[in-house]
């Protein structure tokens, strides 16, 4: 279970970072697109508004030009043919602009409706102006007739008179037409066109506002997402931290337990290979130390046994015997640890496996020493005791024995021999 939790927290951690990265990416990209979209559209709306306004203002300008030219025509200012041509041109341009306006696809229905109304007046104005122009042309040609007639030698005064009358009639008609019909129409058309511009601007403002609305909405959404994301990350991070702390603590506990286990195991294994009483390595230790060396190694090994140790136990009790052995073991450890590995392979039997560097002659000397010390008096629990000791020595050669048992048997047999011969002697194992 600890393992699962560990996995989860680790995923939680990296999940949070992945999540944060994705969130940042999404928010940034959305913002980029939003801004460019908004900018593009607002610009488009502005451009279109500018275009339509420009279009309508041109129409108004042409209306005004036509009006001015008409007045010039009537007032006989400038060259009539020129003026007439100019008027034609203005009409053409105006029609062009009207068509252009109607072809814009960004105009709202209301604006279009208002423009259609204005257009009706512009058409009426156009028709009236054309009528006026016709009348003017008539006066022109009548006047020309008069001039031609007057240039003649015998002018036809009837004709001149009637032409003149007609001209003045036409003049007053044109006058009336202009003030009563045409001028108000132009004014109305102009007002309606201004209204169209205003409506279009209002439309554009609305569109702009709508765009901004959408922008703000998405921005707010992004902010919401961001906040959510941040909060989520925060929470996940806290969770991850807690989990990590928990994990660390568990690991520490585990380590402690492990260490304790190790030391216990060590102790246990130590216990297995240690003689409880003397604290010396026991037979199992010897087994494990030596078994590998039997096949290929040569070494000097000696075993010493207290003679008649039973007497001590019987006379002074097992506790005393134990203490006595402990004292001996201590002494042996003291004296001979540097020269050999000492094993307490059974109650009062001590085994010495001499270090490699000790030569055989030295060994002979040492084992004499061992015998001497082991059989010296020991004071234990305010009593002094002394026992003799028997020993067996083996100069082991590689492959002599297959296992420790057979080695010990050899040594034991040699030892028994020594004991049967009264003890207090060291025999050497002879290989048969």
């Amino acid at each position: 279970m600890a393992k699962e939790k560990k996995k989860a927290s680790k995923h939680g951690n990296s999940n949070a970072y992945i999540f944060a990265a994705i969130l940042l990416f999404v928010v940034t990209v959305t913002n980029m697109f939003q801004t460019s979209y908004l900018y593009g559209n607002v610009r488009k709306v502005n451009d279109q508004t500018g275009d339509t306004m420009n279009c309508i203002n041109q129409i108004r300008g042409q209306l005004s030009n036509i009006n001015e030219t008409m007045l010039m025509l009537i007032g006989q200012i400038g060259v009539p043919a020129e003026n007439a041509a100019k008027m034609g041109a203005y009409f053409g341009q105006m029609t062009e602009q009207i068509n252009r306006f109607e072809n814009f696809d960004t105009i709202s229905d209301t604006t279009r409706h208002r423009f259609a109304y204005a257009k009706t007046f512009i058409s009426g104005y156009q028709d009236s102006i054309n009528l006026l122009r016709e009348k003017f042309m008539e006066t022109s040609s009548l006047g020309q007739e008069i001039a031609e007639e007057q240039a003649k030698e015998h002018p036809d005064y009837q004709l001149i008179q009637s032409n003149a009358a007609k001209i003045s009639e036409l003049n007053s008609e044109m006058d009336d037409m202009y003030t009563q019909d045409i001028y108000p129409m132009q004014v109305t058309a102009s007002e309606m066109l201004i209204a169209t511009i205003e409506l279009n601007s209002a439309d554009a403002a609305e569109k702009g506002a709508a765009l901004v609305k959408v922008f703000i909405f998405v921005e707010a959404l992004m902010v919401g997402v961001l906040i959510l994301g941040e909060v989520a990350i925060f929470i996940i991070a806290r969770y991850a931290k807690k989990a990590r702390l928990e994990l660390e603590e568990r690991e520490r506990n585990l380590q402690e337990v492990g260490a304790r286990l190790k030391s216990t195991r060590q102790k246990a294994s130590d216990l297995a290979v240690t003689n409880i009483l003397t604290g010396m390595k026991n037979r199992y230790a010897l087994d494990s130390d030596i078994s590998e060396r039997l096949e290929s190694d040569r070494f000097n090994i000696a075993v010493f046994d207290m003679d008649n140790f039973r007497i001590i136990n019987d006379t002074y009790g097992y506790d005393f015997g134990d203490e006595y052995l402990v004292a001996i073991a201590e002494k042996l450890k003291q004296e001979f640890s540097e020269s050999a590995e000492i094993y307490n392979i059974s109650g009062n039997e001590f085994c010495f496996v001499f270090n490699r560097e000790i030569t055989e002659s030295q060994v002979m000397g040492i084992i004499q020493n061992i015998q001497a010390i082991m059989s010296s008096p020991f004071t234990v629990l305010n009593l002094t005791v002394q026992l003799t000791v028997s020993g067996a020595f083996y100069h082991y050669l590689p492959g002599d024995c297959l296992n420790l048992n057979s080695l010990l048997v050899k040594l034991d047999t040699t030892m028994r021999n020594a004991k049967m011969n009264g003890g207090n002697m060291i025999n050497t194992v002879v290989n048969m």
Partner: protein, 416 residues
């Protein structure tokens, strides 16, 4: 338990974030202009029974819709009801309108109310006729004198056409009587007077022309008779004496005539004076009427007293309808030329049936529309023209179905 707690906090924070978002978007929403967000404008007209004012209402309503204002519409009961209009102005002030667009039923009686409105910061626009008050920002109307002139011009044309059809030539007295029934509002005077002046001028010119032509013909005859017994060179002089235009009607510059000028000009002036006097006798003005029935009765009265009436002229919807009713009843449609004002559906019916020979229409829809446009401009502090002439148009059976006329009569048809 930790997990549940976590979930709890998370969901609470999620809720916060979402509601924050919604608040932000809604607050942005709030700025959108709803239909009536710019304020209110009051429109007060003269009557709710006449289609003219309904058209004004339509124009104002369209403008208010387009510009985002709420329209408060009031109509008095008739041309003389200024008392109701005073009430309406007070109501408008209470409702805190931005501007009042009003067709005043009296030039002076509303001034007190106007002062109150001005004190409240409300702008005043007049339509159709002007109140005698300084604080009026603008007048949107059609020119009444133009209207009278257009009526006269066309009535004259119709008269000439009818005469030519009947007699071939006019003779020196082409018309006997012209009856005029005006309405009671202030606009009637101009319409009547300008009609009379214009018609009199045309008729006068015509009569003078005829007279001069006759004199010339007589002179030529005399010359020809003299020439038969005399020198051909004299006839040449005589004809040149009769030559250069004496018939030029622009004020009759008698000095243009060669030869015996002083006598000719004196005669001419005397003739002109006679003409004017004669013409002024042709016009018969009835009582001013405000309702169709009153006009009808008056028309019948006039016809009874003057059976030789050739032209009848009404100066607004009701007078025109009254005259038409009388003419129809007395079956005088083919004898009497009726010209009138405005384009009520009943009037259009009379046009189609031939009783009403033509009317002068103003442009009530445009009047209503532009008055609102000007009102909102003035309320916003922009300057506007002090007068806008929305113009008049003559309609009769011949142009009734033209685009422009249809647009003027039925503005809602435009633009599809």
């Amino acid at each position: 338990m930790n997990k549940m707690k976590r979930k709890g906090i998370l969901s609470r924070i999620a809720l916060c974030a979402v509601s924050l978002t919604m608040v932000a978007s809604v607050s942005a929403c709030g700025k959108s202009d709803a239909d009536n967000s710019n304020g209110k404008i009051a429109v007060i007209t003269k009557s709710d029974k006449v289609s003219f004012w309904s058209e004004v209402q339509k124009g104002s309503q369209d403008a208010c819709d387009e510009y985002g204002y709420e329209m408060l519409y009031y109509a008095a009961s008739g041309d003389n009801d200024y008392a109701s209009q005073q009430e309406y102005i007070n109501d408008a002030i209470k409702q805190e309108v931005e501007a009042i667009v009003i067709a005043p039923n009296d030039p002076k009686e509303l001034n007190e109310s106007f002062k109150k409105a001005e004190a409240a910061g409300i702008k005043i626009i007049n339509i159709n006729s002007r109140a005698d008050y300084d604080g009026v920002s603008s007048l949107i109307a059609s020119s009444d004198s133009d209207a009278g002139k257009v009526a006269a011009r066309n009535a004259y044309k119709l008269l000439m056409a009818a005469n030519n059809a009947e007699n071939g030539a006019g003779g020196s007295s082409p018309v006997s009587k012209i009856a005029i029934i005006g309405h009671t509002a202030a606009t009637a005077d101009e319409r009547v007077n300008s009609f009379k002046d214009d018609f009199a001028e045309r008729l006068g010119n015509y009569i003078d022309k005829q007279r001069t032509a006759m004199m010339q013909a007589q002179a030529a005859q005399a010359q020809a008779a003299a020439a038969e017994g005399g020198d051909s060179s004299e006839s040449g002089d005589a004809s040149s004496a009769g030559g250069p235009p004496a018939g030029v009607t622009t004020g009759g510059d008698a000095s243009a005539a060669g030869g015996d000028s002083s006598q000719a000009s004196g005669m001419k002036q005397r003739a002109e004076g006679e003409t004017a006097a004669m013409i002024s006798q042709f016009f018969i003005e009835g009582e001013r009427c405000s309702t169709i029935d009153a006009a009808y009765e008056e028309a019948k009265l006039l016809i009874n007293e003057n059976p030789d009436i050739r032209i009848m002229y009404g100066t607004n919807t009701n007078t025109t309808l009254g005259i038409c009713k009388a003419v129809e009843e007395l079956d005088l449609g083919s004898n009497v030329i009726v010209v009138g004002f405005n384009s009520d559906e009943s009037e259009l019916k009379y046009i189609r049936s031939g009783i009403l020979d033509g009317t002068v229409i103003q442009n009530p829809y445009t009047m209503g529309y532009i008055s609102i446009k000007y009102a909102k401009d003035v309320a916003a502090g922009k300057g506007v023209a002090t007068k806008l002439d929305t113009g008049v148009t003559w309609i009769d059976a011949s142009n009734l179905n033209q685009d422009l006329v249809q647009a003027l009569l039925y503005p809602e048809k435009i633009g599809g």
